[in-house]
C-alpha cells in the first residue's frame, strides 16, 4: 500500500505553493492520486508556510502527520516541523542554516519561540536548527543537508544566468531532493516542472537544472534508495485542482452569467479563476446551434460585500443566473440583503468559504464556525436553503445543484464550503466532473404573471424585470408586488413563504440532504458536516482495522434539515460523537433543535488547522475509553 506524505516548508513568497503543486503533478504523472494542502499565513512575504502532500493509489481522503519527508527550505521550517517526521523519514534542509537560532528568526511566532526555548531548555540545549535535527535523528529521522549556496552557484554557472535571477530555485532543489528520497525519479520532477511553468517558459530551464543538481547531490550521498513503483493511473490524464477552482468551474458549467465579489480569503481565488475564464469557448454543439464562438460571464469586483450581494440580487431579478462568493466577515455584511433576497424571492447563490473566526480571526486558516450564523442570517423570519459540501467533488456538484434550486424555488441558497477545500488540491478523473446525466437548465416557473401570486406550493410565477410592468419590494406586498400593510394580505404572504419551505423540503430528496456511511450495526455513530467528511471516512477505515465499527451521518442540508434520517440513525446508536471545527458544536446543536436528540460527545478542532484522520481515530478511542464529553484535538503547526 503506497501512502506517502511530504511536507514542504518555507517562507511565504518562496515558491512553497509551486513546489507543492509540482510534487502533486510529479506523482500524478507517475500514476498516483494525490491530495495537497497549503497552510499559509495572512502575509504576503516572509512568514512561514507549508504544503502537505499525500499520495496513494486511490484518492487520499485526509491529511495526516507525521510525514515521510520534510523539505525545510529555511531554518524556521526545521524548527517548526522537526517533530512531524516519522522514524525512518528524512529532513531535507539547507546546510547553511544549521547554526540558526530560533530567537533570531524574526517572523517566527513568539509563542512557538517560547515553547522551543522550553523544550530545548529541558534538554539543556538551545533551539537551533542543528539541535532540532539532533532530536529528529534520535527518533530515527535522517537529516539531509543541501549546500544551497553552493548548488545555486552551480546552477547559475550551468544556466549562464546571474545568481540573483535563479536564487528562487531553492524551492525546487529542496523539493527534487525530497522527491528523490521518496523514490520519485528525476524525470517525473522535470516533467512536472515543465507542466507547472508552461506559461513562463523562461524559468523552466533554471528550475530543471536546479532539480537535477539537487538530485545529483543527494544521490551521491544516498545511493540505492528504493524507487517508488508506478501507480495504477500511469498514462491516464488527471486534473489537479483546488476546491476554489472546482466551484468556479461548476459555476461556469452550471450556466452562471453574473458573479460579483469583493476580495476576501479564502474566497477570492474562486472569483479570480472564474474571471480568468469569463470569456470562454463554446463546445462544438453549442457553437453550431447558437452560431457563437464564445460566451461571457460578467465577473465584477465590487466596492464591498453589500454591493456584491445587492448587485447579484439585481442581476438575478433581471433574469441572470447570479452568484456571489465571500467568507465570514463579508457574509456578515450581507445579512440585510439576504433578508431582502428571501422577501423578494431572488434566486441567488451565495458561496460561503468559511475560515477561522470570530471576526477577522485567522483569515487564512480553517474553520467551520459559520453554520448557525448562515442558517439564521438576515433579520426577520428568513428561511433559505443551506447546503454544506463534504469534499471537492461535492462542492462542484452542489454548486450546480444550488444554482438550480435557487431558481426552482426562487430563494437564496447558501453554499457552505471552507478554507481547507478552498486551497487543497485533489486529482480528478474526467468522468467525475462531466456534466452528462445532470441536465443544466433554467428552472424558472413561468406560468402566470402575478409575480407574488399566492399559490398552493408557495412558488409564484417567475417574472423577470424588463418583461412586464411590475413592482418588486422588500416591504410586505400583495400578489402584484405593491407594498401593503393590510393584515390579511400580510398573513397570506407569510403563509405562502412557509408553504414554499415545505415544498422545498418535499422536493429536495432526503438522499441529497444527508448521507450515511458505514456499518448498519455499528456501536459508534459519528455526526458531522462539511470538509471533515473525508478525514472521518479515512478514520473509519483505521478504526475498523482496530475493531471499532463506526457509522457516519453526514448532514448536507441544514435547511431543509433531514430530520427523519438523522433521528432514526442517532436514536438507535449506542455512542454518538459529533465532529466539528467550532466551539459550540453547531451541527450538534441543530441536531438537537430539529430532532430532540442530544449528541453527547464531541471531537472538536479549534486551532485553525484542518482535522487529520488520526485525530479522529484518537478522539473516538479516547471517548470510548474515558467517556469524556469533549475531546479537543490540536494537531498541526
Amino acid at each position: 500500500m503506497v501512502d506517502l506524505k511530504i511536507l514542504i516548508g518555507g517562507p511565504q513568497g518562496g515558491g512553497i505553493e509551486s513546489a507543492g503543486q509540482i510534487a502533486l503533478k510529479a506523482f500524478v504523472l507517475k500514476g498516483y492520486h494525490v491530495l495537497g494542502s497549503r497552510e499559509y499565513q495572512s502575509n504576503i512575504m516572509g512568514a512561514h508556510s507549508y504544503y502537505l502532500v499525500r499520495v496513494m493509489r486511490r484518492r487520499p481522503r485526509a491529511l495526516t502527520l507525521p510525514v515521510d519527508v520534510l523539505v525545510a527550505l529555511d531554518a524556521e521550517s526545521v524548527l517548526t516541523h522537526f517533530e512531524e517526521v516519522r522514524p525512518g523519514g528524512f529532513i531535507v534542509y539547507d546546510s547553511g542554516t544549521a547554526n540558526v537560532k530560533a530567537s533570531t528568526i524574526a517572523p517566527m511566532a513568539k509563542p512557538l519561540k517560547e515553547r522551543l526555548s522550553e523544550f530545548f531548555g529541558r534538554r539543556g540545549s538551545e533551539p537551533t536548527v542543528s539541535e532540532a535535527l539532533k532530536v529528529a535523528e534520535e527518533r530515527g529521522v535522517t537529516p539531509i543537508g543541501l549546500p544551497m549556496k553552493q548548488l545555486l552557484r552551480r546552477v547559475a554557472e550551468a544556466t549562464e544566468r546571474p545568481l540573483a535571477s535563479i536564487s528562487r530555485t531553492v524551492n525546487i532543489m529542496g523539493l527534487a531532493a525530497g522527491l528523490y528520497l521518496a523514490g520519485v525519479e528525476l524525470e517525473y520532477v522535470k516533467d512536472a516542472i515543465v507542466a507547472q511553468f508552461s506559461a513562463k517558459p523562461k524559468i523552466i530551464k533554471p528550475n530543471v537544472v536546479a532539480a537535477s543538481m539537487a538530485v545529483e547531490h543527494v544521490s551521491e550521498l544516498h545511493e540505492g534508495l528504493p524507487r517508488l513503483e508506478d501507480g495504477p493511473l500511469k498514462g491516464k490524464q488527471l486534473m489537479v485542482a483546488t476546491g476554489n477552482e472546482l466551484v468556479a468551474m461548476a459555476k461556469l458549467v452550471g450556466g452562471l452569467s453574473v458573479q460579483t465579489y469583493y476580495p476576501i480569503t479564502p474566497s477570492s481565488d474562486e472569483a479570480l479563476y472564474l474571471e480568468e475564464h469569463r470569456y470562454f469557448e463554446l463546445n462544438d454543439v453549442a457553437k453550431e446551434r447558437l452560431g457563437l464562438e464564445k460566451m461571457g460571464i460578467v465577473v465584477l469586483q465590487t466596492e464591498d460585500e453589500l454591493s456584491a450581494i445587492n448587485m447579484a440580487i439585481g442581476a438575478a431579478l433581471a433574469g441572470a443566473r447570479a452568484a456571489t462568493s465571500t467568507s465570514g466577515p463579508g457574509f456578515s455584511l450581507m445579512n440585510e440583503a439576504i433578508s431582502y433576497a428571501v422577501t423578494v424571492e431572488a434566486p441567488i447563490l451565495i458561496t460561503l468559504w468559511m475560515r477561522a473566526g470570530p471576526s477577522t480571526g485567522i483569515p487564512t486558516r480553517e474553520g467551520q464556525q459559520d453554520l448557525l450564523h448562515a442558517l439564521f442570517s438576515g433579520h426577520g423570519d428568513t428561511p433559505k436553503i443551506v447546503v454544506a459540501s463534504g469534499d471537492h467533488l461535492e462542492a462542484y456538484w452542489d454548486t450546480i445543484k444550488a444554482l438550480e434550486w435557487a431558481e426552482r424555488f426562487q430563494t437564496p441558497v447558501i453554499h457552505l464550503v471552507d478554507k481547507y477545500l478552498a486551497s487543497s488540491m485533489i486529482s480528478i478523473e474526467k468522468r467525475e466532473i462531466e456534466p452528462r446525466g445532470y441536465p443544466i437548465m433554467r428552472a424558472l416557473k413561468t406560468d402566470g404573471d402575478l409575480r407574488y401570486k399566492v399559490t398552493e406550493d408557495g412558488i409564484s410565477p417567475w417574472v423577470p424585470l424588463g418583461s412586464s410592468t411590475m413592482v418588486i419590494t422588500g416591504l410586505e406586498h400583495t400578489e402584484d408586488g405593491f407594498a401593503t400593510e393590510d393584515p390579511v394580505a400580510r398573513d397570506a404572504m407569510m403563509e405562502k413563504r412557509r408553504r414554499k419551505m415545505e415544498t422545498i423540503k418535499r422536493e429536495i430528496p432526503e438522499e441529497e440532504r444527508v448521507r450515511v456511511y458505514g456499518a448498519r450495526d455499528a456501536d459508534v455513530v459519528l455526526v458531522s458536516w462539511g470538509s471533515t467528511k473525508n478525514p472521518i471516512l479515512s478514520a473509519m477505515e483505521a478504526l475498523e482495522g482496530e475493531g471499532v465499527g463506526t457509522r457516519f451521518v453526514q448532514i448536507r442540508t441544514f435547511f431543509p434539515f433531514p430530520e427523519d434520517t438523522v433521528s432514526r440513525e442517532l436514536s438507535e446508536a449506542k455512542t454518538v460523537i459529533g465532529v466539528e471545527q467550532n466551539l459550540l458544536g453547531q451541527a450538534a446543536f441543530l441536531v438537537r433543535a430539529f430532532t430532540g436528540y442530544r449528541v453527547r460527545h464531541m471531537i472538536l478542532k479549534l486551532n485553525g488547522r484542518p482535522i487529520f484522520d488520526d485525530e479522529i481515530v484518537y478522539g473516538v478511542k479516547r471517548i470510548l475509553e474515558t467517556g469524556e464529553e469533549t475531546v479537543v484535538v490540536r494537531g498541526g503547526s
Partner: protein, 313 residues
C-alpha cells in the same frame, strides 16, 4: 408618436404630504419619460427607502424598491444583467449620500449608464425629520433637539470627485426645467446625477419654497457650456465647474454643470472585454444546449489537466 405622461402613472395612492416637493419631481419624471417615449417595460425605476423612494410605486415601469442605501448596487446588477433597460434611481439624500455614500462614489468609477435622482430635502423624511447629510450645520429644523452639528456634504462635488459624467441640479417645483434635466440625464450614456432641491414642508421648515425661490438661478443665465469632449477640455473646464458647484448661500445655481463625453459607459467596457455581451446579455443568454452546458469542462479548464508536455529548454 410620443406617449402621454398619464401612461406613466400607476393607480397606487401617492402618499406624500400635501405640498411635498416630491410631487414636482414625480411630475417631471412622468413627463420626461413620456417625451422620451420610453416603453414602461424597458424602464426600471429603482427606489431607495424613504418618502422619495416610494416613487417606485408611482411610475409605471418594471420597478424595484431597494434596501435603504442600496439602490445603486441593486440597479447596477439589473443593468449588468440586461444592459438594454433604462435604469433610473429615485432616492433620498439620506439614502444615497448617507448610508449609500460608498456606492454613490463607486458607481461613478464605473460610469454605468444609469440616472441617479437625489430627492434632496436635507432631512430624513420618512423617519420623521432627522438631519440628512445635506443639511448645513448650525441649522435647526423642526424635529431636531438642537442645531445640526454636522456639516453638509456637497453632492455635486462628490459626484465630480467620483467620476460622474453628467451632473445637474434642479429644483422640485420648477417642473419644466427639471423635466429637461431628467431627459438629458436619461439620454446621457453614463452615470448621471440629478440632485433635486426638494422642500419638505413637514420637516424642513428652514429650506422652504420661499427660501429656495429667493436663491436659485439657472446656469444658462450666465452662458454656461457643460459639455466636455476631450481630456484637455476637462482639465480646463473642471476648476470652473468645481467653483460653481461650491456656490451656495445667497445664490444657488441650477442646471447641468457637467456633461463629460470623454468616458466610455460601463456596458461598452464589458462589450470590449467580452464581445457579444450586448447581444447575449446575462438576462437572456442561453445556459445550455439540450441540457448540456455550453462548454466542456475538461477543455475549458485544460490547463488543470496534468500532462507530459514536450519542451525544449
Amino acid at each position: 408618436m410620443a406617449r402621454s405622461f398619464l401612461e406613466y402613472k400607476t393607480d397606487a395612492w401617492v402618499q406624500w404630504c400635501p405640498g411635498c416637493g416630491d410631487f414636482g419631481i414625480l411630475n417631471a419624471i412622468h413627463r420626461a419619460l413620456a417625451e422620451l417615449d420610453i416603453d414602461p417595460r424597458n424602464l426600471v425605476v429603482v427606489g431607495g427607502i424613504g418618502c422619495s423612494g416610494r416613487t417606485t410605486f408611482y411610475v409605471k415601469g418594471s420597478n424595484l424598491h431597494a434596501l435603504h442605501g442600496r439602490a445603486i448596487p441593486l440597479a447596477t446588477g439589473v443593468k449588468l444583467a440586461n444592459p438594454r433597460l433604462k435604469v433610473v434611481i429615485a432616492g433620498g439624500d439620506g439614502d444615497l449620500l448617507g448610508i449609500g455614500a460608498g456606492h454613490f462614489v463607486a458607481v461613478g468609477r464605473r460610469n454605468v449608464d444609469i440616472t441617479v435622482i437625489v430627492f434632496d430635502n436635507a432631512v430624513y423624511g420618512l423617519t420623521k425629520g432627522q438631519a440628512a447629510p445635506t443639511l448645513p450645520s448650525g441649522v435647526k429644523t423642526k424635529a431636531l433637539p438642537g442645531p445640526n452639528i454636522q456639516d453638509a456634504v456637497n453632492p455635486l462635488l462628490l459626484a465630480l470627485a467620483s467620476g460622474y459624467t453628467f451632473i445637474a441640479r434642479g429644483y422640485a417645483y420648477h417642473t419644466a426645467q427639471l423635466k429637461e434635466m431628467i431627459k438629458a440625464a436619461i439620454s446621457h450614456r453614463g452615470t448621471a446625477l440629478v440632485d433635486v432641491l426638494q422642500p419638505c414642508p413637514t420637516y424642513n421648515n428652514v429650506m422652504t419654497n420661499q427660501w429656495y425661490e429667493e436663491r436659485v438661478y439657472y446656469l444658462e443665465e450666465e452662458e454656461w457650456d457643460p459639455v466636455v469632449k476631450t481630456p484637455e477640455e476637462y482639465r480646463r473646464k473642471v476648476p470652473l465647474i468645481a467653483a460653481k458647484m461650491l456656490e451656495w448661500g445667497d445664490r444657488i445655481p441650477l442646471g447641468v454643470f457637467l456633461k463629460d463625453e470623454t468616458k466610455e459607459p460601463f456596458e461598452e467596457r464589458l462589450e470590449r472585454q467580452m464581445p457579444g455581451y450586448m447581444d447575449n446579455p446575462p438576462s437572456s443568454r442561453p445556459i445550455s444546449v439540450d441540457g448540456y452546458p455550453l462548454a466542456d469542462p475538461w477543455k475549458v479548464f485544460e490547463e488543470k489537466v496534468v500532462k507530459k508536455v514536450e519542451a525544449s529548454y
